[in-house]
């Protein structure tokens, strides 16, 4: 992410930061090593913990409240176990594959088991300990597979979910993270902008969830039985924790506690607020009632839409991006999904995939200095939007094909679905041997 910081800082009028970033950039490795910043380190430790807050309890409760009470614990267990599993894999080879030099598509194995990383090594930018950098990135690599669970709930085997996520981070997430965020990465070199993970996290998770929802198939009784959420209160709590944690996700992606983080902070507030109002308004107009679930869905859509743009666009651009992303996501969740009939149960594609695509392409527009953005070197709107489209298409194709192959492999090895009896009984009892509520 150093190059990216460098790119927009150089154009963005953050004089002091630009100078620091130039010294710190990989191209200037022979320059004197910049001082480790305790301020930056403190903020990045905080950001890391905030992203963890997004996963547990944020995402777990947000998803858990949306399923029927007989499947509550299965969702909580899946989110917790998938995050834990992918954290350990990150240490074994994930960090190395994503963030060491290799080719344009994948890193190498030089830092397997964190070889060469000590408490004294620093990140590429040089201002925080490498341990903090890899821990921060670890939480991203953990939340992305956890997001996919929303497309698979209430019918997928626990063993299938664990095996799929293990393969998916290895063959889909690490390469895409390398392409987007490593200095050698194909999309980084292309000049595609992704501040905090619009392609790597949200489009990636959204597409994988869509492929999974189609390949695992619809839940029994989908479209006929009452499948209303069992606790909208927990969904609200989870959604609110996601918003709070997202400040670590977005403002933390500056990797410094400076002006870029400040911009991301403001954008993460206003884009989200605009998106909440956008969903509320369009739902009120179309369905006659403004709902809580609609408003909190707007919050998530806005957070997704601003993620790739958080440190790159101005607050007014962020408001437009958030509101637009939210309205498009509303259209996909309510109209397109019903028309096509796939059971993306918790709308991972409808919200993360769709708002992620809107945000990633919109970043190319609103980064324009004339629209209040920080700009990039030799900016031209058409050229930048084209680069963003290329990045989006590569993410969709890479993830779509990769996920389809991996779901097929998992189906052959352990089988994707639980039996009809187990699905009817609920995954809490049939897969985990416990129930969420004893009343």
């Amino acid at each position: 992410m150093t190059l990216k910081t460098l790119l927009h800082a150089a154009k963005g009028g953050f004089g002091g930061l630009a100078a620091t970033a130039l010294l710190a950039g990989p191209a200037f490795a022979q320059a004197p090593a910049p001082a480790l910043s305790e301020g930056n380190t403190a903020w990045m430790i905080m950001s890391t913990v905030l992203v963890l807050l997004m996963i547990v309890p944020g995402l777990a409760l947000f998803y858990g409240g949306l399923v029927r009470s007989k499947n509550m614990l299965s969702v909580l267990t899946q989110v917790l176990a998938v995050a834990s599993l992918t954290m350990i894999i990150w240490i074994i080879y994930g960090y190395s594959l994503a963030f060491t030099a290799g080719n344009a598509f994948i890193g190498g194995f030089s830092k397997m088991f964190l070889a060469g990383v000590t408490h004294e090594t620093v990140n590429d930018g040089g201002s925080i300990p490498e341990y903090v950098f890899l821990a921060f990135q670890m939480t991203f690599a953990a939340i992305t597979p956890a997001l996919i669970i929303g497309g698979l709930v209430e019918r997928t085997k626990f063993s299938a979910i664990l095996l799929f996520m293990l393969l998916w981070v290895t063959f889909v997430y690490y390469p895409l993270a390398h392409m987007v965020w490593h200095a050698d990465g194909y999309l980084m070199k292309l000049g595609a902008l992704d501040f905090a993970g619009g392609t790597v996290v949200h489009i990636n998770a959204g597409i994988a969830a869509l492929v999974g929802a189609i390949m695992v198939g619809k839940r029994i009784g989908y479209g006929k039985d009452l499948m209303s959420p069992h606790s909208m209160t927990l969904t609200f709590v989870g959604g609110a924790l996601l918003w709070i944690g997202w400040f670590g996700f977005n403002a933390g992606s500056a990797l410094t506690a400076g002006p870029v983080a400040a911009l991301a902070l403001v954008n993460t507030l206003v884009a989200t607020a605009a998106a909440a109002l956008g969903w509320l308004a369009v739902e009120w107009a179309a369905k006659g009632k403004p709902s809580m679930l609609g408003t909190v869905s707007g919050v998530i859509a806005g957070l997704v839409a601003i993620t790739p743009a958080a440190g790159l666009v101005g607050p007014i651009g962020a408001i437009v991006l958030g509101a637009f992303g939210s309205v498009v996501a509303y259209f996909f969740c309510t109209t397109v999904k019903n028309a096509l009939g796939y059971d993306d149960s918790l709308d991972v594609f409808g919200i993360h995939g769709v708002a992620g695509i809107v945000g990633s392409i919109g970043t190319g527009i609103f980064v324009a200095p004339v629209l209040g953005g920080v700009g990039v070197e030799d900016y031209s709107m058409m050229a930048q939007v084209w680069k963003q489209v290329v990045a989006v298409v590569i993410a969709i194709v890479w993830c779509g094909i990769g996920s389809a192959i991996l779901f097929k492999i998992v189906d052959l090895i352990v089988g994707l679905r639980v039996t009809v009896e187990r699905e009817r009984e609920g995954l809490d009892l049939s897969e985990h041997g416990e129930r969420a509520y004893n009343m």
Partner: protein, 112 residues
């Protein structure tokens, strides 16, 4: 002896209880139930998913009374539970063969 079974709107329970206490009924059994009659149901929308909810929450009251009191008690419940809106509920009267108070062993009328 008779069982008077009334299905009423949940928010009318306190009114019905007060009215029955006022006419000397000092015990009843209450159950939360679901059902529908002419009121039908309503629609719930969660993001894109619309569900027709046909069963509405109601309260079922059961009171065991002497046969001589039945008409008066039915009228009392009906008056207290009435809003005039659709969905006010129904009252059924069932026969009751025997009754026993477990603590004392009293039976029938003495057990009510």
């Amino acid at each position: 002896m008779k069982i008077v079974m009334a299905i009423i709107k949940p928010f009318k329970l306190d009114d019905v209880r007060d009215a029955l206490t006022g006419v000397g009924v000092h015990g009843m059994t209450v159950t939360e139930v679901k059902g529908y009659g002419r009121q039908k149901g309503h629609t719930e929308i969660y993001r894109g998913a619309e569900y027709a909810v046909s069963f509405l929450p109601k309260i079922k009251i059961e009171v065991a009374v002497a046969s001589s009191q039945v008409d008066m008690i039915v009228e009392t419940i009906a008056a207290a539970a009435k809003t005039g809106q659709i969905g006010d509920g129904k009252i059924f009267v069932l026969g009751l063969d025997n009754a026993l108070r477990i603590r004392t062993g009293e039976t029938d009328a003495a057990a009510l």
